[in-house]
Amino acid sequence: MTETTVDATGSSPLLRAFAYAAVLAVSFVMLYPLLWMVSSSFKPENEIFSTTSLIPETFTTDAYRRGWNGLSVSFGWMFLNSTVIALLAVVGNLVSCSMAAYAFTRLQFKGRSFWFALMLGTMMLPQHAVLIPQYLMFLNFGWVNTILPLVVPKFLAIDAFFIFLMIQFFRGIPRDLDEAAVMDGAGPLRIFFKIILPLSTPVLATAAVFSFIWTWDDFFAPLIYLNDIEKYTAQLGLRTFVDATAQSDWGALLAMSTLTILPIFILFVVFQRLLIEGIATTGMKR
């Protein structure tokens, strides 16, 4: 995407000022709840609801201490669970989806367009249609209450969005490079590892960051598959914390909420350009 914005219509300064004001107002309203959450997590409990100010009068990290150990299992443990699951999901998605995208864009084999159409079809199929048999199957495998149902499907390229994202990118890599490599004696494996993957770091990074964030954020699958609190992800922990504190300790709740968003926020700050371009090029939301 180009960085220069061109004014299509040559607006007058007045209009421009109005547009500015509107955009600023909207961003303030949108950010206010988030800022309030963060600032409240550093306020003492009695200050949270007595003022709408975003700057704590008394700065304290006490809410974090209360929240961190607010459940029978420390939040640290759940963050670790979430991290392990999210990292495995990243690896699984990168490996399986890049392989599928390579097959779809670069290899000639019988039935390719048939499978490709089916792949696009699975993007449309709501997960609910397969949810219950999947659950029963994993139950049969004895995988319920383990991380396997959350992780193994990622190694089977279940997230067709990433295949799609990578296909878009691979198509932009000149075919001449493959052919030059063929002339150099390279087979499909070597071309994949030595040419395509090294040239695809931007899309691999995009896919990795999205995978991490979505897995980190996922609530439904852990809710179904994880039963013991020691196995909980941060999201499940947080929602258990909502029930446990029952609004009696808003400071701790907001502190833990802030913490569960923090990893996403950091990734967002570091990789926002990749994420935004990923969305703009696929035209897919989230």
Partner: protein, 361 residues
């Protein structure tokens, strides 16, 4: 040095035939240039030789061995792509060594070969750079270097100069010719530029619509084009094609009528309808005492190139005609000129475009 033999080579994409059966024998060490208009199938033919496209029909032999089913890497061929196709993420050195590493050659041997090739191409200083940091001409050299290191039997070039500016193109052209002289490998070179074809080739193969129109040395192609297509494709400005009719015939001798001017020729055995006379602009002269008179030409536009004067105009019957005159001639638009030509350098083409044997009477 290796020979190639193409026998009845065909290519179709689905129901569409692209190459219609090409027969060609290429001698060891020969420099062959495929030339033809865009889309005529030059690249397709080259890619079939390379092994990048399956051959639909016919047979390809290299050094006598059938190659149709042999993979690209095992044909002993290297190819230089129009886009250069340098691996953007690898250094120049890595670009050149990639193929050798694929072949599991010992490191020391690889190093030796890369450095030797780099020296030949004078790119030793660039070995650590990435392709992005190179100029167009330097990339071109690396692409050639990548081909050289593998010490191939056959080099293939697909329009390798078309991304260079005019000056660099001439310079690189000379270097490729030198390279061929130095290493003596068989080379097949694709271009749509007739100057490249004329200057580089031992033999030119003129392609059109997936067929060979003519194969021969550059001068054979220039002096005795097999048909109207070849005659028109090679030479600049293009050969004039002038409609003529048969005015009379007495045994071998035939009288042609060109816009009212009678020309006596011999040896036309073709049907008399739809004949045309082909004369290259550089073989026309004006106001000269030598040569055969072709009648009058009205100049409509004159281009002064310094070394040459190009006159555009028409004959009495309004047929357009172009003449290239040596030196600086003072010709003005609207002027009537007396045209002459050496009939020995003229050609007669029949209605089907074939060149028919002809001698001046």
């Amino acid at each position: 040095m290796t020979s190639l033999a193409l026998t009845g080579i065909k290519k179709s994409y689905g129901a569409i035939d692209i190459i219609h059966g090409v027969d060609l024998a290429i001698e060891p060490g020969e420099f062959v240039v495929f030339v033809g208009p865009s889309g005529c199938g030059k690249s397709t033919l080259l890619r079939m030789i390379a092994g990048l496209e399956p051959i639909t029909g016919g047979e390809l032999r290299i050094a006598g061995a059938r190659m149709n089913e042999v993979s690209a890497a095992e044909r002993g061929i290297a190819m230089v792509f129009q886009s250069y196709a340098l691996y953007p993420h690898m250094s120049v050195y890595k670009n050149m060594s990639f193929g050798l590493e694929t072949a599991r050659m010992p490191k020391a041997e690889i190093d030796l070969r890369v450095r030797k090739a780099a020296e030949i191409l004078q790119i030793t200083k660039l070995l650590d750079r990435k392709p992005k940091q190179l100029s167009g001409g330097q990339r071109q050299r690396v692409a050639i270097g990548r081909a050289i290191v593998r010490d191939p039997q056959v080099f293939l070039f697909d329009e390798p100069l078309s991304n260079l500016d005019a000056e660099l193109r001439v310079q690189t052209r000379v270097e490729i010719a030198k390279l061929h002289a130095d290493i003596g490998a068989t080379m097949i070179y694709v271009t749509h530029d007739q100057v490249e074809a004329m200057t580089l080739a031992d033999r030119i193969v003129v392609l059109n619509g997936g067929r060979i129109e003519q194969a021969g040395t550059p001068l054979e192609i220039y002096n005795t084009p097999a048909n109207r297509f070849v005659a028109g494709f090679i030479g600049s400005p293009k050969m004039n094609f002038l409609n003529v009719s048969v005015d009379g015939r007495a045994g071998e001798a035939v009288t042609l009528d060109l816009a009212g001017t009678k020309l006596a020729v011999r040896g036309i055995d073709a049907r008399p309808e739809g004949l045309c006379l082909g004369v290259r602009p550089e073989h026309l002269d004006v106001g000269s005492d030598r040569g055969t008179p072709l009648g009058a030409m009205i100049a409509t536009h004159v281009e002064q190139l310094g070394g040459q004067t190009i006159v555009y105009g028409s004959l009495k019957d309004r047929q357009p005609i172009v003449a290239t005159l040596n030196g600086q001639k003072s010709v003005r638009a609207g002027e009537e000129l007396r045209l002459t030509a050496d009939l020995a350098q003229c050609h007669v083409f029949d209605a089907g475009g074939r060149r028919v044997a002809v001698q001046s009477a």
